[in-house]
């Protein structure tokens, strides 16, 4: 058994502990440790995904206790993919944060950043339902810290709302888990999958309740309408760099919904049957529209980015809600794309916000420093967010469209209409920000060039171009991943569930 599986949790924890213990005042040291840790995480994630691609799911028995009695980590293609995505994004965003001096704005940025990574990776890797809750809390409380980084009136007030709403979600999570344990007497996800197959009819109603409550928890994380209200305020008021990292946080909701919808409550399970699909599809379509309309109706640039994030979650969940291998593979591709695209849009918007008096789109302000490059980056980020060619978004969109051949009219019209609305909104915003500025022939504002910040954004764009060019092999890999999700036997066997002698 490879001990590397625990590394994505243990390494950031160690880094964070060091950052808290020594040289708290030395920014250079903090940056070095944080970068080193994140880089190491990326390397480990790459190793893990290679391992996962080679063999089937691998299980790590924490405390050396047999499943289902102890807690297990499970490394399969899906968890490895999500960890790698997290690590790569985290590295780029960290470079931006340092390049734009965001980490100077408050205390303990790097320590909390490392804890954040630990929480996210832990959530992706765990094979235990209650442990998933614990790591949700770790990543949430870390996200509160990052979201409030730098303080300020609106940020504190928005932060309060963000925390309060998520605490409702956490409480709901506990209600669901308690119900599940009370009925099945177990918390290990593989064990749940096995036991639910032979669930007595008398318990069906309770399990259905637990299943849907869990789904709603994930829907809160994934910002599905009508549980998305926390997102615009939180993301718009969070530091831009943090919002960029949060691009992966919403995906955790998508991941969890996919994991439980294929492993614990698969479409074949008679107790829940098509419950997840029936709830997710309408919600996802509405989310898509709400997000797109929000992009067109947003008053400020950060809110525009926030609504683009909501729309992207709509697309992701449209893909997931089909619960077919093809659609899941498409959704996974779109998850990767929209994480990068969302982060890019938030970073570009942050670059603009740093060069503008304020974020209102309808205000005519003097041209921004480095405006030309910035305009180009905004254009590309907008194209990516709207899912237009030539970047990966268009391919992801084609994949989802063609995966939804049945119910084509409904799904296609929603997706294409939403794309159109987003396009109009982004075009308006872009011409307001970068063209209208030239009406008044005012001199451009001056601002330090921040080369590393720009490098980070360009890297994200490069990654999107990369996954577009390599779409063939990537989708082939994802197809295998998706197929694996719909045949959980290997996942379950890997847990070597302990049988009473």
């Amino acid at each position: 058994m490879s001990h590397w599986i625990i590394a994505p949790v243990a390494l950031p924890a160690l880094m964070a502990a060091i950052l808290v213990l020594v040289l708290r005042g030395n920014l250079g040291f903090q940056r070095a440790i944080s970068l080193a840790g994140t880089l190491g995480l990326a390397v480990i994630a790459a190793m893990l995904i290679l391992a996962a691609s080679g063999s089937g799911p691998e299980v790590y028995f924490l405390g050396d206790w047999p499943a289902p009695f102890g807690i297990v980590l499970v490394l399969d293609r899906l968890s490895a993919l999500m960890v790698l995505l997290t690590a790569v994004l985290a590295l780029v965003v960290l470079v931006y944060a340092i390049g734009a001096d965001w980490d100077k704005m408050g205390r303990h940025f790097h320590a909390i950043y490392q804890f954040q990574l630990m929480g996210i990776c832990g959530a992706f890797l765990t094979g235990d339902a209650f442990n998933l809750f614990v790591f949700f809390e770790v990543l949430l409380i870390a996200s509160y810290g990052l979201m409030l980084h730098g303080g300020g009136r609106d940020r504190m007030r928005a932060g309060f709302q963000y925390v309060a709403f998520n605490l409702i979600g956490s409480t709901l999570f506990l209600f669901a888990l308690a119900t599940i344990y009370s009925v099945t007497g177990t918390l290990n996800m593989a064990d749940l999958a096995v036991k639910l197959q032979t669930l007595p009819p008398g318990d069906v109603a309770l399990i259905r309740v637990a299943a849907v409550l869990l789904l709603l928890v994930f829907a809160i994380k994934g910002a599905l309408v009508p549980l998305h209200f926390w997102l615009p305020g939180a993301y718009a008021h969070a530091p831009g760099v943090v919002a960029a990292l949060f691009a992966v946080m919403t995906k955790i909701g998508a991941y969890a919904a996919l994991r439980f919808g294929t492993l614990v409550f698969p479409p074949g399970l008679e107790a829940t049957a098509t419950l997840y699909r029936d709830v997710l599809l309408p919600a996802a379509l509405v989310t898509l529209v709400v997000g797109a309309v929000g992009v067109l109706g947003a008053v400020t640039l950060p809110r525009l980015a926030a609504f683009a994030a909501i729309a992207s979650m709509g697309m992701v969940f449209v893909g997931i809600s089909a619960f077919t291998p093809a659609a899941t593979s498409a959704a996974l591709y779109y998850i990767v794309h929209s994480t990068l695209a969302g982060a890019a849009l938030f970073l570009v918007s942050d670059l603009a916000m740093r060069r503008r008096a304020h974020g209102r789109l309808d205000a005519v302000l003097p041209p921004m420093a480095q405006g030309g490059l910035l305009a180009a980056l905004f254009l590309v980020a907008a194209i990516a967010s709207a899912g237009m060619p030539p970047l990966s978004g268009f391919i992801g969109k084609l994949l989802i469209l063609s995966a939804w051949r049945d119910a084509a009219w409904l799904v296609w019209s929603f997706i294409l209409a939403a794309t159109f609305v987003m396009l109009v909104g982004l075009a308006r915003a872009g011409s307001q920000l970068f063209w209208k500025a030239h009406d008044g022939q005012a001199r451009a504002t001056s601002h330090p060039p921040e080369p590393w910040a720009f490098t980070a954004v360009i890297t994200l764009i490069g990654l999107m171009a990369g996954i577009a060019v390599l779409a063939g092999p990537i989708t082939a890999w994802l197809d295998v991943t998706a197929a694996g999700l719909y045949d959980p036997s290997t996942y379950i066997e890997a847990n070597r569930l302990y049988q009473e002698p």
Partner: protein
């Protein structure tokens, strides 16, 4: 590979052009020109093969699974368009170099231009319709950039946005259409699709696919009713208008119609939709063009009209008509591009494009006049120019087409031709003929050869094709027509069709009537100006503006930042989902025998219920509410003890104490009262929601408590293994630190993070002047009677060591009896808290030896080490071992590695609680609480007579 290379070259050109910016405008033009020429050369090199009727293909697998492949092909049609794109492109680059004023960033311009060129070339070379879609949307985006090139012009920005909205909107429809088409044909490769005519036309999805694809094509090619964007795109620099909006991009729609002609054409639906749209567009646009004064606007509508003409021909669905369409594509490209460039020259020379301000340029600009004459006569369809040839053939086809009646189509076609004669002559007459004027904004003169070379060359082609069609054009026309129709075409083109040909009389009528119309122009113009017309732009702007306003309104209303409403919605959603799923599943009531209700339990329960009710009623008095909350917490702790959960009882108790203390300190700064804000209706609503939620929770809890688990709980294993496996008799504790130690690891990290956040937030608050001011004000409000009562101070001094002992004891025994690192940490923290309360934050902090950060960090590190330690022995993270140790005066106990982990927990909890309080204390001092010199003191404010 060649074709892929051809498609790639312009994009490389774009990169080159952008890199060349630093070397001046010339360099960028050179780069663009070089790339275009190179691509053209490669195309010409491929031409002979294609002209022999073969097809050049370059298949590259991209996403075989999806059917999206980078397959390129070059056939007659592709050759024709590639030739147009690159040939005219070359002329445009040359012209633009001389045309663009120095103050505009030429490098940027050529970069965009080459981006467009690459996208356009990609469309015509694609053998895969999904690939085609990608290039299709790319042309929309690049034309957006080119139209908006003059950032300072509002018309430019609006025109760009309008073009993008219309064309990419159509593009989205086309995506759906192409996907359907591909699914019917079983492949997205054109070479396959083109063989599937029967299957496609037989499918129920034929009509939807047709309509969706045509939506894309019509929007792109500015067909009625989507024509309105094109005139507004004229805000672009003239080279762009000539290139994108007359010669190439607007023909992309025609290209797709032609490309799919073999499989889509030939049905009644096709004839009615395509031919009618084309015909209406042709006539309507030609009429409007007659009344436009802006040269570019006139040409724009003329372009729309000619695009309509070609669409109509393709719509007829006959081989002959398709051949004419192809021929006219060539002719129109030549004379119309020339005319646009000439309009640009006139604009440059006279600083106006308004026909009402021009006239008499004949003598001032002889060269320009000569070229214009040829081009505009060709546009009018005057022999022996190429426009005449294709117009004749068009009329011929129209005369044969049966639309409603045998003659209607011919008549309308003649009408279109008539108008085009009229506006062509108007362009010439009102621009160049007539007396020389003295009020030009700028005295015009012929431009340098650099500017007139391009239109001159095109005019040369106009003549050459007109005179020697067979030599110059027919081979290309035949090749392209063969590709369009899918069958070999050998069309011979004559200047003279004989007297019996209806076309001759139709065009004679058109010319005559057209000239007559021009004679009557002033009167017609008066009528036209008087007549009310729907202005497409205002309608479009109203539509988009309305959409945006609605979007803003809806978004603002939905996301008004009200947490209370969001929480209410969430609660109701959860309730609805839970209820719905419950009633749709089967449920058997529980059979478990319930516990008897004992008085010892019933009385505290009653108190708890009362306290909760009281909280609802009296929550506005915050102190009372806090106390009531504390009471509830204490009763819960007692309840846990009663229901055999001593660990829970202790923990709940300790946490309750600390929480209440925290909130008490916080309440120092916050208002003491919650004002009455919500209406009684609102309160009622909230009570309703709350009641439902409570009912739901009750029902679920009751259902669960009264049922047995469907399977044996895994905790049986924990009980069995607690002693032998984990070396502890307290199963709860062994679960916490061993079986599920990983949960605890996450849990203490949550605490650690919480403390860090509180510290960071405090720093942020202390940096904010507004907050500091508020703090200072806050402290004035209420002054406690005796801040640090002496008795309490003495007591705490005395208690501290005991508390510390108790903490250590709890920690050590935790593994076997209720207790453990967490509670121990809290107890010690509370002991220290007492010092704070008794003697003030500052006094205690002055005596604090270790920094709280260090304690937290150490705690996490110890727990981490306890986990990683196992790896040394090749065991998984957090695997524990144990041994028995006896340490006087305590009884013998096992020392487990789990207890090292528990030590980490202890430190983390202690550090976290202390850091949080220290942070709050800093706020208090910032608020002006005096620092005690000694541990004991009396309230100084009292000494000053108690304000």
């Amino acid at each position: 590979m060649t074709l892929a290379l051809i498609a790639a070259v312009p994009f490389l050109g774009a990169v080159l052009a952008s890199l060349a910016i630093r070397f001046g405008r010339g360099a960028s033009a050179m780069a663009a020109g070089f790339a275009t020429a190179l691509a053209l050369g490669l195309v010409v090199w491929q031409a002979p093969v294609v002209l022999q009727g073969q097809m050049v293909v370059t298949p590259i697998d991209w996403m075989p699974a999806l059917g999206l492949n980078a397959n390129f092909m070059l056939d007659g049609l592709g050759l024709l368009f590639a030739g147009l794109i690159l040939g005219i492109g070359l002329l445009i680059v040359l012209y633009a170099h001389f045309y663009l004023a120095a103050e505009y960033p030429a490098g940027q311009f050529f970069t965009y231009l080459m981006l467009f060129q690459g996208a356009m070339l990609g469309i015509v070379l694609s053998d895969n319709i999904l690939l085609l879609l990608i290039f299709w949307e790319l042309t929309s985006l690049s034309s957006f950039l080119l139209i908006g090139f003059w950032k300072h012009l509002p018309e430019g920005r609006q025109g760009a946005r309008m073009a993008l909205a219309v064309t990419s909107g159509g593009g989205l429809a086309m995506i759906a259409g192409m996907l359907i088409l591909g699914q019917i044909a079983g492949s997205y490769d054109l070479s396959v699709i083109l063989t599937q005519k029967e299957a496609i036309q037989a499918s129920d999805w034929y009509l939807p696919a047709l309509i969706l694809i045509l939506l894309g094509a019509f929007t792109k090619s500015a067909q009625f009713p989507f024509h309105f964007w094109l005139p507004h795109a004229m805000a672009a620099p003239t080279p762009v208008s000539a290139y994108l909006h007359s010669a190439t991009m607007v023909k992309a729609g025609l290209f797709v119609i032609a490309r799919l002609w073999p499989v889509l054409a030939g049905t009644p639906e096709w004839f009615w939709i395509v031919a009618t749209t084309g015909m209406v567009t042709m006539v309507m646009a030609a009429k409007i063009a007659l009344f436009k004064d802006d040269l570019k606007a006139l040409l724009a509508f003329s372009t729309v009209s000619h695009l309509g003409l070609i669409t109509m021909l393709l719509g007829f669905g006959t081989k002959a008509a398709a051949t004419v369409a192809v021929f006219h594509i060539i002719n129109h490209a030549t004379f119309k591009a020339a005319l646009f460039l000439l309009a640009g020259i006139i604009d440059h020379a006279a600083h106006t494009r308004d026909l009402r301000r021009l006239g008499g340029l004949r003598t001032l600009m002889p060269i320009t006049f000569a070229i214009t004459t040829l081009a505009s006569l060709s546009m009018a369809g005057i022999p022996p120019l190429n426009g005449f040839l294709s117009k004749e053939m068009m009329l011929e086809e129209a005369a044969q087409a049966v639309w409603l009646t045998p003659w209607a189509m011919g008549l309308l076609a003649t009408l279109g031709a008539l108008f085009s004669v009229a506006y062509s002559f108007r362009f010439l007459a009102h621009g160049f003929l007539g007396p020389v004027r003295h009020d030009y904004p700028h005295t015009p003169h012929d431009p340098s050869v650099g500017l007139w070379f391009a239109p001159g060359l095109l005019a040369g082609l106009v003549v050459a094709i007109g005179l020697f069609p067979m030599l110059t054009a027919s081979w290309l026309v035949n090749a392209a027509a063969s590709a369009v129709t899918g069958t070999p075409v050998q069309k011979t083109i004559h200047l003279w069709h004989g007297l019996e040909a209806p076309a001759l009389w139709m065009s004679l009528a058109a010319v005559g009537a057209g000239l007559a119309l021009l004679g009557l122009y002033p009167r017609l113009r008066a009528i036209w100006d008087a007549a009310p017309r729907p202005e497409a732009k205002t309608i479009f702007d109203a539509a988009i503006g309305g959409l945006a306003r609605v979007a803003r309104g809806v978004t603002g209303w939905l996301h008004d930042g009200a947490l209370t409403r969001a929480a209410a919605i969430a609660t109701l959603t959860i309730l609805a989902a839970g209820t719905a799923t419950f009633v749709t599943g089967t449920h058997l009531a529980g059979t478990r025998t319930m516990l008897p209700v004992e008085a010892v339990a019933a009385i505290p329960w009653a108190v708890l219920m009362l306290a909760a009710f009281a909280t609802i009623l009296m929550h506005r008095n915050r102190l009372v509410a806090l106390i009531l909350t504390g009471i509830v917490g204490l009763i819960l702790s007692a309840g846990f003890a009663y229901l055999s959960a001593p660990d829970l009882a202790i923990t709940q108790l300790a946490v309750e104490v600390v929480t209440v203390l925290l909130m008490l300190i916080a309440l120092n700064f916050l208002p003491k009262e919650t004002p009455v804000e919500s209406t009684s209706w609102r309160r009622l609503r909230d009570l309703g929601i709350a009641g439902l939620a409570g009912a739901g929770a009750t029902a679920l809890a009751f259902a669960l408590m009264t049922r047995e688990a469907a399977f044996d709980p895994i905790s049986a294993f924990h009980l069995a293994q607690s002693k032998p496996g984990a070396g502890g008799t307290n199963a709860v504790n062994t679960i916490i630190v061993d079986f599920r130690g990983y949960d605890t690891f996450g849990e203490i990290i949550v605490l650690g993070i919480a403390a860090l956040i509180i510290f960071a937030l405090t720093e942020a608050i202390l940096r904010s002047p507004t907050a500091l001011a508020a703090l200072a004000r806050g402290r004035r409000r209420d002054v406690a009677g005796d801040r640090h009562p002496m008795m309490l101070a003495v007591a705490t001094r005395f208690l501290l060591p005991l508390a510390l002992m108790a903490g250590i004891y709890l920690y050590l025994r935790g593994h076997n009896l209720p207790g453990g690192g967490f509670v121990a940490g809290l107890v010690v923290a509370i002991a220290l808290l007492m010092q704070y309360i008794a003697s003030g934050f500052a006094w205690s902090q002055a005596r604090q030896r270790v920094d709280h950060h260090t304690v937290i960090g150490a705690g996490v590190l110890v727990a981490w080490a306890a986990g990683v330690g196992a790896l040394v022995f090749g065991l998984p993270f957090l695997t524990s071992g144990y041994d028995y140790v006896s340490l006087w005066p305590l009884e013998t106990f096992e020392l487990t590695t789990a207890s090292i982990f528990d030590l980490g927990v202890f430190l983390c909890v202690l550090g976290a609680v202390m850091l949080s309080l220290a942070s709050l204390s800093r706020l208090a001092r910032a608020g002006g609480e005096p620092v005690n010199p000694t541990a004991f003191d009396i309230d100084p404010s009292r000494a000053e007579g108690g304000r």
